[in-house]
Symmetry: C2
Subunit: 500 residues, 2 copies
């Protein structure tokens, strides 16, 4: 068993965690974390990267005296393949999402492949309130102030991206250069929404693992967890069964024995004393869903967990608890203790605020069908109450579909819009809220049976399977078609093409 998640990767994962455990009563909401990556540096990365800051209005939509307040938004341009000013060369833009851009740049490889193909520049844009793009320079101050954190929203972020991209075009005399925007997960939603809202700035979008349909009641609540269960079951029926039975066993031990929680603490080597069994169950839930979401071919954490569980089950002396714990060790690595609060968040977490304001994704556990998880329906009312307790305002669960749409997507977009790729790996629990079928000839879905969350936009690895190589090639070829058509249109429609 050589699958071990290193401590450094874990730390970066923790930094990227975004789902709010608003309270113990709220079911697990899933995570829109961006994928992690073993290799921390791209070869030669630092040489051609230049960092810029753009003075961005804190508020694009209201115009009040206080709206003159700006913040410095970071963007980074990779000039590695760029061959100088040429208005017929496209620009590729990677949309940062709920994390520091420094964590994306070393791991998100596909955009740089595009840049290489066209001798183009690649612009990485950091999302407001993340990384080094935080208003007033202090995350704590920005997130604890109810007025300031109110400016953290997707619509504001898209307007930021619009401003920066127009600025970059101007700066490099690239007014006629088509821009292709690329993003993953929440960043993939942003990319697809940007193409829909700003077609005059982006020619097309690659939205990797973007669950734009996980809002309102479009996707069944248990879509996320049913994919996780399926993924484990397909890996190993015994492993799946052990996990499925373990929750009740944990409760039984916790409830039936006087020292039940101590026993569980000891068996799971928890760093602190367990106060209730839900702390342990939430932790296991996080480990299992995270493994399923990031089940990349290079690491295959679901295989690793199930191999450990099944191996343990073959031992004479083993019991359910020991078997599940073996899975945890396989995923987390050998440690002196396991911290069940590893996945916790608090109200200063930026994405927790986004989830508690507009990004309300009703993910629940129905307990139905093949679910290996205990039942925990998403309860909008208690969710609202908990968010209100944290932030003083109730979430707006219908805003995303009001502003961006989502219901009857094919009906709406079949004769409207163009040039969006929705890519999803079907092993990714978030694919349940993704666009999995073509909408039109130019709004297309690319799915891979074995793919995980955002795997296509990750750095290529030498041992990548053929299906993944093929997926990336298909995506690049489709986008090449958009660019060719654009240049043909440019000749036809545009009177003055500047320096072109």
């Amino acid at each position: 068993m050589d699958y071990i998640v290193s401590r450094s990767i874990l730390v970066s994962l923790l930094l990227l965690l975004v789902s709010p455990y608003v309270s113990a009563h709220i079911p697990h909401l899933g995570r829109l974390r961006r994928p992690f990556q073993n290799k921390p540096q791209k070869l030669g990365m630092s040489d051609e990267l230049a960092t810029f800051y753009y003075k961005q209005p804190l508020d694009h939509f209201n115009y009040q005296p206080q709206s003159d307040v700006t913040f410095d938004q970071r963007y980074v341009i990779d000039f590695k393949y760029w061959k100088g000013v040429n208005p017929s060369t496209p620009i590729f833009a990677f949309f940062g999402a709920e994390e520091n851009l420094d964590d994306d740049i070393p791991s998100i490889g596909l955009p740089l492949n595009f840049a290489s193909r066209y001798k183009a520049m690649l612009v990485y844009l950091e999302h407001r309130f993340y990384g080094k793009s935080i208003p007033f320079g202090s995350l704590k101050k920005a997130m604890e102030n109810a007025t300031i954190r109110g400016y953290l929203s997707s619509a504001q972020a898209l307007a930021d991206y619009a401003q920066v991209l127009l600025h970059v075009k101007k700066m490099f005399a690239a007014e006629t250069s088509p821009i292709i925007v690329i993003g993953g997960s929440y960043g993939g939603m942003l990319a697809s929404w940007f193409r829909l809202k700003y077609p005059h700035i982006a020619l097309g979008a690659l939205a990797s693992s973007a669950p734009i349909l996980y809002f309102d009641n479009i996707t069944p609540q248990d879509g996320y967890y049913s994919v996780v269960s399926k993924s484990f079951r397909e890996t190993s029926e015994t492993c799946y069964e052990i996990i499925r039975r373990s929750w009740a066993e944990i409760d039984r031990i916790a409830e039936e024995k006087a020292q039940g929680l101590s026993i569980l603490s000891k068996r799971f080597k928890t760093c602190g004393k367990l106060n209730r069994s839900s702390e342990l169950k939430d932790y296991l839930d996080s480990v299992l869903t995270e493994a399923a979401q990031y089940n990349f071919p290079s690491a295959n954490p679901v295989d690793a967990i199930c191999a450990a569980i099944d191996g343990e089950a073959k031992k004479k002396s083993s019991d359910l608890i020991g078997q599940v714990f073996a899975g945890v060790v396989a995923y987390m690595g050998e440690r002196s203790c396991y911290d069940v609060s590893d996945y916790d968040h608090d109200s200063t977490d930026q994405y927790s605020w986004q989830v508690c304001s507009e990004m309300v994704m009703p993910i629940g556990r129905s307990g139905k069908g093949d679910s290996m998880f205990p039942t925990a329906q998403f309860d909008l009312n208690s969710f609202k109450n908990d968010c209100k307790a944290w932030y003083g305002v109730s979430p707006k669960p219908h805003w995303i579909t009001t502003f961006y749409g989502g219901h009857d997507l094919k009906l709406v977009l079949h004769r409207f819009a163009s040039n969006i790729i929705f890519s999803n790996g079907l092993k990714d629990p978030y694919s349940s809220g993704g666009v999995l079928h073509n909408i039109s000839q130019t709004i297309v879905a690319i799915t891979t049976a074995k793919g995980a969350h955002c795997v296509d936009i990750q750095n290529a690895e030498v041992d990548d399977p053929d299906w993944l190589k093929m997926q990336r090639k298909t995506e690049m070829d489709i986008i090449d078609g958009w660019i060719s058509k654009y240049h043909a249109d440019l000749l036809l429609f545009k009177k003055s093409v500047g320096t072109n």
Copy 2:
């Protein structure tokens, strides 16, 4: 000469004036006023109209504790032709713009023709900060408070319309009913932008006389005035020549004679004493441009003005001043005096704020070519300074094109979007900033050589010319095609069609 503008029409015109005369140094900005109408009541109008109010968030885009503040937005539904709940019946929505809905409903006739054709309901939506849809109930309070007036913007207004329309659909079990949005002038811009930004709510848009290209440098500054000059010249060469020469004559009298301004006051029967000749020239400018803009076939004010001017010129004793004054009398009617401040605005005017924040339309007078107006370039810097003096913030002249686009419209929209009619009368000075050529098979331009501002959406008159009847029929037939296609798609793509 039976063309006389009645006092009551004039009052309503004055109420609708929207271009800010920020200062004497700012050239005339043109007006996005909505068309006036002689007949104050539609037959049977009041019987089937129902007024509703929707609790609308003051701020859709930021989510702060103060964002829970709402205002009551008025909308009016005309049930005259509606035959009850039927999810296959379309809904027609008229987008209010910079005026009180009470002024639109009696005069905007085309939407009701649509309702009649489909036995559909017609929803009139009032724009925030106008009519009875004013936050905190007091226009003065709303407009004088720099924070509150900041919420008056097109993006907020579109989000208001989105919320109300979704609410109406829900209220009448009309989830699958396609919505067609209709607007004129600024309201036409809103209609076209709404189709672009909210295709999931509006199936299509009829944008009448919407100068969406009069932003940034897309349209030449003097587009507006060159149409006015052309319109007068085509009506009468002598009339045009008299007007063209009158400005210098006014200046000559004002400057060369000690009592020059008094002489001008007397000759033009001004109600008050003229302080400078620009007051008179701005007034004449407003009369002439307004007449050109609203040169409806039923009234033909340009003809009326030129007939009076030419008639006066035939008199032996007449001079340039007397000739131009005869034109004023023809347009305004016989009065004891003429108030040159009739067209003035102050900073509490809502559309002045919109012009000074985002709706920056650089309309100038180049003095070139066939212009009959004195030169007055649009000077962005002094415009900015004047707006800053009025409102404490500088306009954002690039925001409209950043958020909605506009540059290279055909290039951008040829393979994106659908179902928009841009209708323009080429006698309308604002047609210079309109979309005059088809963009694609479903984003089409309809122009009429003789049409004025928004004439197509006005009430039909018995003596309407054939070209106008034909224009309305063409528009209705195009929209009929959208609705048919939608129903075919609905059968194909939508799994559950509810009660349909």
